[in-house]
């Protein structure tokens, strides 16, 4: 037997449960566009008890709400985000370099062609001072082209270092926020609640972190742990571990973990990983290629000069000087000061162009590197292009896979306004019905009262 008062309490409970459900729907709608928000579902259960061997239904009970999320999918998204961050950083840096090496009428290739073209014009009139001066200014233009090429690569290195430093600062800020959220979530869960929105916020921050650096999430003795891909801790429970940036003597930004270990080489993923990859792998290879082209070309021209005589009949002196240490391309300089010093004569007579053959041969002969200067430069540009195109196509692939993963996550956790609207109507109707029950019971009570009063 329940009786009127029992029915009233069931209806009251129902009102409460439907209100709670409405609240959840309301919250879902409010956060429909919040990044990282996972939709919440209300959990209701029917109450019953057994009294004197009979099952007695006792209405509905509101069990709270749970967020719908898939941890595995979340990790996959973090992984893809981290790849995307890395490739985006690489692509930005390499696009700068590609743009700088795109010139076909400017740059080292064009300067080489102009130099040899004007040098060759001296074959019919070797003593023409203005033609000699032209060659000298061509050689100077070539030196400048080498400098520009080296500057493009070194400014990309600088940009990568800046990116590393600023990204580490962001990582540290995120670690602190995640650690404080971890603390709040732990106390919420200790009271039997669902971390809910706080967990969403933490997951969103973790994804932002993955954009900057490759991360891995695990549990250490119940405490959620966030580490870099190589295992250096970023956050354990509610304790953040700050990364540090130090500048090595060579000007490179190195990253130290919380214990002070240099983890630069072990990092991968995220814009930090991407910047380090470009800085430590791609750029040094290109710089080396440019430097060896500069130094081998200078050597070849100098030894061709040494085989001839200048306009005054003196033995040819070196045309270019290359620094003994450091970047040859950045440090190459023109040693000749006047056009008279170009050693075109093979016998000391001023009208001879016999040594021109040796100077011009530098263009077609293979340098010690295995290819002639033009082909060496073309291969350098090819490598610049390959580095860029590889990263760009990998970026396109990662972006589309990230889109798919995100869509997969949204299909599970995303808020559908239509769905929530339908739910609202459902809860609203249930609420109205429960209210009607209360009003009916009220009527019943009134009737009952009037009977007893009437007697």
């Amino acid at each position: 037997m329940i009786g009127l008062s029992g029915s009233l309490s069931i209806a009251t409970e129902a009102l409460g449960a439907q209100t709670a459900a409405l609240e959840v729907a309301n919250n879902n709608i409010a956060n429909a566009n919040t990044p990282g928000y996972s939709r919440q579902v209300v959990s209701l259960s029917s109450e019953a008890s057994v009294q004197n061997g009979t099952t007695v239904d006792e209405g509905v009970s509101y069990q709270g709400f749970t967020s719908v999320r898939d941890a595995v999918l979340g990790m996959a998204i973090n992984g893809a985000t981290s790849d995307q961050g890395s490739l985006t950083a690489q692509s930005k840096l390499l696009t700068q370099i590609n743009t700088a090496f795109a010139g076909t009428t400017t740059g080292i290739g064009a300067s080489l062609s102009t130099l040899f073209s004007d040098l060759s014009a001296l074959s019919t009139n070797p003593s023409d001072p203005s033609a000699r001066q032209t060659v000298l200014s061509d050689a100077n233009a070539l030196v400048n082209s080498f400098h520009q090429g080296a500057a493009v690569l070194s400014s990309a290195t600088k940009a990568a270092n800046q990116q590393v430093s600023s990204a580490v600062a962001q990582v540290n800020e995120l670690s602190q926020q995640i650690a404080s959220l971890n603390g709040q979530i732990a106390s919420a869960e200790a009271n039997g609640g669902d971390g809910g929105t706080l967990t969403d916020q933490r997951d969103e921050l973790t994804t932002q972190m993955a954009q900057l650096i490759g991360v891995s999430t695990t549990q250490t003795g119940g405490a959620p742990t966030l580490t870099t891909a190589n295992g250096s801790p970023l956050v354990i429970g509610d304790t953040p571990y700050a990364l540090q940036v130090t500048t090595a003597p060579d000007g490179m930004a190195h990253i130290l973990d919380g214990q002070g270990n240099d983890i630069t080489d072990e990092l991968s993923g995220g814009s930090i990983g991407g910047a380090i990859t470009v800085r430590d792998d791609t750029l040094p290879a290109l710089s080396q290629q440019l430097d060896s082209l500069a130094s081998q070309f200078a050597d070849a021209m100098n030894s061709a000069q040494a085989g001839g005589y200048d306009l005054n009949g003196n033995p040819g002196v070196a045309m270019f000087a290359v620094p003994a240490t450091g970047s040859a391309a950045a440090g190459i300089s023109l040693s000749l000061t006047t056009g008279y010093q170009i050693a075109i004569s093979s016998d000391g007579s001023s009208g001879s162009s016999g040594n021109l053959k040796a100077l011009l041969a530098v263009q077609s002969n293979n340098l010690p590197g295995g290819a002639n200067p033009t082909d060496s430069y073309a291969s350098l540009v090819g490598n610049v292009g390959f580095a860029g195109s590889q990263v760009n196509s990998a970026l396109a692939a990662t972006t589309s896979s990230l889109q798919q993963l995100t869509s997969q996550r949204d299909s599970e956790s995303g808020v559908s306004i239509d769905e929530e609207t339908a739910n609202l109507i459902r809860y609203q109707q249930a609420y109205s019905a429960a209210a009607r029950v209360i009003s009916s019971i009220n009527d019943l009570y009134t009737t009952l009262m009037s009977i007893s009063l009437g007697e």
């Binding site: 074959s123 016998d347 162009s353």
Partner: protein, 297 residues
């Protein structure tokens, strides 16, 4: 199975990618270049640089050819004048060798031969752009100067050097023939034979004059032989230049096919990109405003 309710994110991704293709198609058409950065097609970009260097070489071979050609033509025309003057000297000498000639007649012929000699020296000292044509690789100008101690009356200031110029990857032509080889060659000395003729006409016998004429003839043969060298250079350059102009065309078309756009492909890419873009925009316009709320009023 629940579906992704976030249509706008999906559509944004699509719109971005079609916009990207549209951008690419437009910028390719605008620039006429398919490869705008090495990363667009690394292999083509590298091959294009090599091809451009080859083009620049062809240009410089052509320029070299042109400048050698004008120099050779100049020298050839000087030598052609020398040949006709020598022929004239031979005719005068033959006339002077005639037994019926008086001393006065011979003296007047000698004066004419003398003027031929000065003309020939003038031709031997011809310059091109300020450079003596017949002084070898020395910058000496003039190539021959009057020298009373020399048996021929002139001494050579130049050297026997020969400059050469590239007019092809492995093709060189000589730019000059040294003056001593042309004018004071042991097997036919122009100045010596003309001086000999003048002195024979002044004091020699008929036989002496005949011998002197024969010497001039030998010198003429030598000059003609040397002239052939220039003619050979001119022919070689003409042949090479017609090859080089074909090479330029083929290199230009190679560069165009490496990094340029194929107009029909580019236009069809643009059309495709436009269609894809307007399709996705139309889809967005249809789908995005739809909501259950519209039907609940």
């Amino acid at each position: 199975m629940r579906v992704d309710p976030n249509l706008s994110a999906l559509l944004n991704g699509g719109i971005q990618s079609t916009e990207q293709s549209l951008n690419t198609a437009v910028s390719q058409l605008a620039s006429g270049q398919r490869v705008q950065r090495p990363s667009d097609d690394p292999a083509a970009a590298a091959a294009n640089l090599q091809s451009l260097a080859e083009s620049s070489n062809v240009d410089r071979y052509t320029k070299n050819g042109d400048s050698v050609l004008s120099q050779a033509q100049m020298a050839d025309s000087a030598l052609s004048n020398v040949v006709s003057e020598l022929n004239q000297a031979i005719a005068l000498g033959t006339q002077g060798a005639d037994g019926s000639m008086t001393t006065e007649d011979r003296a007047s012929i000698a004066i004419q031969v003398q003027s031929i000699l000065s003309d020939v020296v003038g031709q031997a000292n011809s310059t091109f752009n300020g450079v003596s044509l017949f002084s070898g690789t020395s910058a000496a100008a003039p190539a021959f100067v009057a020298d009373s101690t020399s048996p021929t009356g002139y001494s050579y200031q130049g050297n026997s050097g020969v400059n050469s110029a590239n007019i092809g990857d492995n093709l060189e032509v000589n730019v000059n023939v040294p003056g001593d080889q042309v004018f004071t060659n042991a097997s036919g000395n122009v100045f010596g034979s003309l001086s000999g003729l003048i002195s024979a006409l002044g004091a020699g016998t008929t036989d002496d004059i005949g011998n002197a004429v024969a010497a001039v003839k030998t010198a003429l043969t030598n000059v003609s032989q040397q002239r052939v060298l220039y003619a050979g250079v001119v022919n070689q350059i003409n042949a090479q230049e017609s090859f080089l102009s074909k090479e330029t065309i083929s290199l230009t078309s190679q560069q165009q096919s490496l990094t340029g756009i194929d107009m029909s492909v580019a236009v069809s890419n643009l059309t495709q990109a436009q269609i894809a873009h307007s399709t996705i925009l139309a889809a967005a316009a249809k789908v995005l405003p739809t909501s259950l709320l519209d039907y609940l009023k």
